[in-house]
Subunit: 385 residues, 2 copies
C-alpha cells in the first residue's frame, strides 16, 4: 500500500519520519539542503556577504551550520542576537536589522559588540547615537515590492529622497553613515526587482558624496523565493540580474553588498507531516464543496496562509487519483483558522480522516510563528536533521 512518505523525494526526511511516530504535526528540516542553498547564494553572488535572516528559522542547528559555512546573521531582536552569538560567531558578523528598536535593546546589542544597525528615520539615528556611539548605520528605503507574493507594506523604510538626510544626521552625530538597504518583497519572483531600488541607492550614494559622506555598502535585503507550487528562477539568475543592475547604476565603483536570505535559505529544506482530522460537507447537495480539516492551521505554524498568500505543496498517499477542490482549514475553534477557501485546494477524493499529509517548503516562517497554546494546541514540533 502506498504511504504518504512515498511521495517524498527527500530520503533523509522520509527516513526520519518513517522512524518516528508523532501525535501532532511535526516539521523536519534537512540541514543538507540548507548547506546546498548557502553554496548557491555564495556562488551566485560571490562578492556579496550573506546575512541569514534569523527570524525565518532560528533553530540552533541551522544557525550553527550557517555559522560554520561563514554566514553572517541579520537579527530582529536581542534574543536573536544572543542566538547568533551562541554559535560562537564574533559580533562583527551580526547586523541588528530591525528599524524598530527600543533604545535599551540598542544598548544591549552594543554591549554584546554589535556595531551595525538599520535605521529609517532621524529618531532611530538618535537612539543609536545615545546607545551605540560610533556604530555603523544603514538607512532602509521603501521599495515597491511589485512581483512579491507576501504583502510588503510601507512599514519599513523612508522614501529614497529622505535617506541622504537621515544618513547625514547620523554622520553629524558621530555615527558612521555606512550604506543603504531595501527589501524588494518576500517570495519575489521577478529577478529584475532589485533594479529600481539599486537606482535609488546609487542616487543616495551620489547625494551623500556631495555632502562629503562616502557610503560603503548596499544591503540588498531578502526576497529570494522558495519553490512552492510554481517554479521559481534559479538563484544564479537573481545573482546575474543584480550584478547587471549594480554595474548599470554604480559603474566601476560597485559598493560592498550584503544579502539577507531567510525563506530562500531554509524554505525548501523543511517538510511538515500533518494529519487529516475531518473531511466533511456542509450540506448533502451533490455540488457542495468538501472541507478538509488538518491538525495544523493558521495559528499552529501556517501563518503565511494569511490572505492565502503562500500556497504550500501538499502530498498525500493518494496523489495521482482524481481530485476535487477542497476548503482547507485548521483544527481550532477559530473561524479565521482557514488556510484556503477563496481559492480552494485540489485534493484527492479518496483522502480520508486519519490520513497523513506532507506539506512541503515549510522550512521558513513556521515554527516561531506558531501560537503559544492557541485553543490548547501545542506549538509546532520541529527537528533539524
Amino acid at each position: 500500500m502506498t504511504s504518504h512518505l512515498d511521495r517524498l523525494d527527500n530520503d533523509r526526511i522520509r527516513g526520519f519520519l518513517a522512524a518516528q511516530k508523532s501525535d501532532g504535526p511535526v516539521l523536519v528540516v534537512d540541514s543538507e539542503i540548507v548547506r546546498g542553498n548557502y553554496a548557491k547564494f555564495a556562488r551566485a553572488l560571490p562578492d556579496t556577504r550573506v546575512f541569514y535572516a534569523v527570524k525565518a528559522n532560528p533553530a540552533p542547528e541551522i544557525l550553527a551550520l550557517l555559522a560554520e559555512l561563514g554566514s553572517c546573521f541579520d537579527c530582529a531582536s536581542v534574543a536573536e542576537i544572543d542566538m547568533a552569538l551562541a554559535t560562537g560567531v564574533s559580533p562583527d558578523r551580526i547586523s541588528f536589522g530591525n528599524t524598530i528598536k527600543k533604545e535599551r535593546d540598542v544598548a544591549a546589542a552594543h554591549a554584546r559588540g554589535v556595531r551595525l544597525f538599520a535605521v529609517d528615520c532621524r529618531e532611530e539615528v538618535e537612539k543609536i547615537e545615545r546607545a551605540a556611539p560610533g556604530a555603523r548605520v544603514f538607512c532602509r528605503i521603501l521599495a515597491d515590492g511589485a512581483g512579491a507574493e507576501w504583502p510588503l507594506s510601507r512599514k519599513f523604510g523612508c522614501v529614497p529622497e529622505m535617506a541622504a538626510d537621515v544618513l547625514d544626521h547620523a554622520q553629524a552625530r558621530g555615527l558612521v553613515a555606512y550604506g543603504v538597504s531595501f527589501h524588494v518583497g518576500s517570495q519575489q519572483n521577478n529577478v529584475a526587482a532589485w533594479d529600481s531600488a539599486l537606482a535609488s541607492a546609487a542616487q543616495i550614494f551620489r547625494d551623500c558624496a556631495e555632502r562629503g559622506i562616502a557610503l560603503s555598502m548596499v544591503n540588498l535585503g531578502g526576497g529570494f523565493p522558495t519553490r512552492y507550487l510554481k517554479d521559481i528562477p534559479a538563484v544564479d539568475a537573481y545573482g546575474a540580474s543584480i550584478f547587471e543592475s549594480l554595474k548599470a547604476h554604480f559603474g566601476n565603483r560597485i559598493p560592498e553588498t550584503i544579502i539577507e536570505p531567510g525563506r530562500g535559505m531554509v524554505g525548501d529544506a523543511g517538510v511538515i507531516e500533518a494529519e487529516v482530522v475531518l473531511v466533511s460537507k456542509k450540506s448533502d447537495d451533490a455540488d457542495e464543496i468538501r472541507w478538509v480539516y488538518l491538525d495544523i492551521g493558521k495559528f499552529g505554524g501556517l501563518a503565511e496562509t494569511m490572505d492565502e498568500a503562500i500556497r504550500y505543496p501538499i502530498r498525500t498517499a493518494h496523489d495521482g487519483e482524481a481530485t476535487t477542490p477542497c476548503v482547507l482549514a485548521g483544527p481550532t475553534c477559530d473561524s479565521a483558522d482557514v488556510m484556503y477557501e477563496k481559492t480552494p485546494y485540489p485534493l484527492p477524493i479518496s483522502l480520508s480522516i486519519g490520513d497523513k499529509v506532507l506539506i512541503e517548503a515549510c522550512g521558513a516562517y513556521t515554527t516561531t510563528y506558531a501560537a503559544v497554546a492557541f485553543n490548547g494546541f501545542l506549538p509546532l514540533a520541529s527537528h533539524v536533521i
Copy 2:
C-alpha cells in the same frame, strides 16, 4: 505630571501596574470584573447554564474562579479539558465543543469522563460512536453571523436541513442525540441575532420529534460582545431578546439552554500595558502620515487586529491633547505586523518614543494567540489579579 496610569478607571489594575516594572508588554486581568460578568450572565439568563469558552483566556486563576462560581466549561482540545479538570470540577461540567476532533482525542476526553460532544457531520458522529459510546452529542448548524465584528466563516456547522439526519445518525448508533448548537458570530452587536438560528433549531426539534427523537438542549453559543471603542448592549438586553425568541419558536416547551461566553466573560477584564518604540514618518512631506510602533503587535497578542477587525481602546498620558491619525504597527520585522492602517488610529501628537500606553479590553484572545518566539520576541506576559 500625568501618567498613562491616570487614564485607568480600574484601581486594582492601576495599582498593580504602578508597583511592577516590566521590560515588555504585559496583560493584567482583574478577576473581580470576571466575577461581575459571570453574575451578569447568570442574572440575564437565569435558566441557562454557562459554559465558559476556555480558549478565550485559559489562565488557571480565571478557570478556578469560574469553577467556584458554578460555571461549566466549553473546551476546544484535550489540553483545555485537562485545564478545566484541574480546577476540580467534575467532567459533567465539561463540553468538548470543537467539531473537529481526532478520534484519539475523543477517546481521551471520554476516558476523563466527558460525555458531551459537538458534531456537525456524520463522520464526526462515527468517531464519537467508536471512541465515546453512549455519549451525548449536539449538532452545530451554520448561522449567518450578520452583525458580528469578528469574521465568521462556514468552518463550523452544517446547513440546518442536514442536522436532523446527523442527529438521527447519532441516535441510531447508540449515542444520545441531545440538541442543537450554533454561533451567531463573535462580538455580535445585534441582540436579536439569535432569533433566526433559534427558528432553525425549533424546526430541527420538530423534525427530530417526527422521527421519534426527543432533543433536550439548545446551545446558544457565544458572541456576547466586549466594549471596545463603541458602546454595546447590556447583557440583560441579550437575555431578554433570546428569551423572547425562545418563547416565539418553542412556545411553552422551552428546552434546556446553555451559553458559551468567552469574550463577553473576560474581554473587558484585561488591560495591556505596552510601550511606544518609535514614532516616525516615511517622508518629510507635511501631510505624510505618522507611524507609531508599539512593542506589541499582531504576533505578540493582538492577533484580533487581523483585517483590522477588533479596534481596541488605547489610553495615553496625553489623552485630551490634539490628535493626528496614525498607522499603528508592531515591533517585528514582518511587514504584515501592522494593526491599523486602512483606518488609521487617532493618537496624541505629543505621544513620544518611550511612552507607555494602555490597550483596553484585552482580556480575551490575546495570551494564547501570541506567537512562541516570533522574531525572538517573548510571548505576552500575563497576570491575573
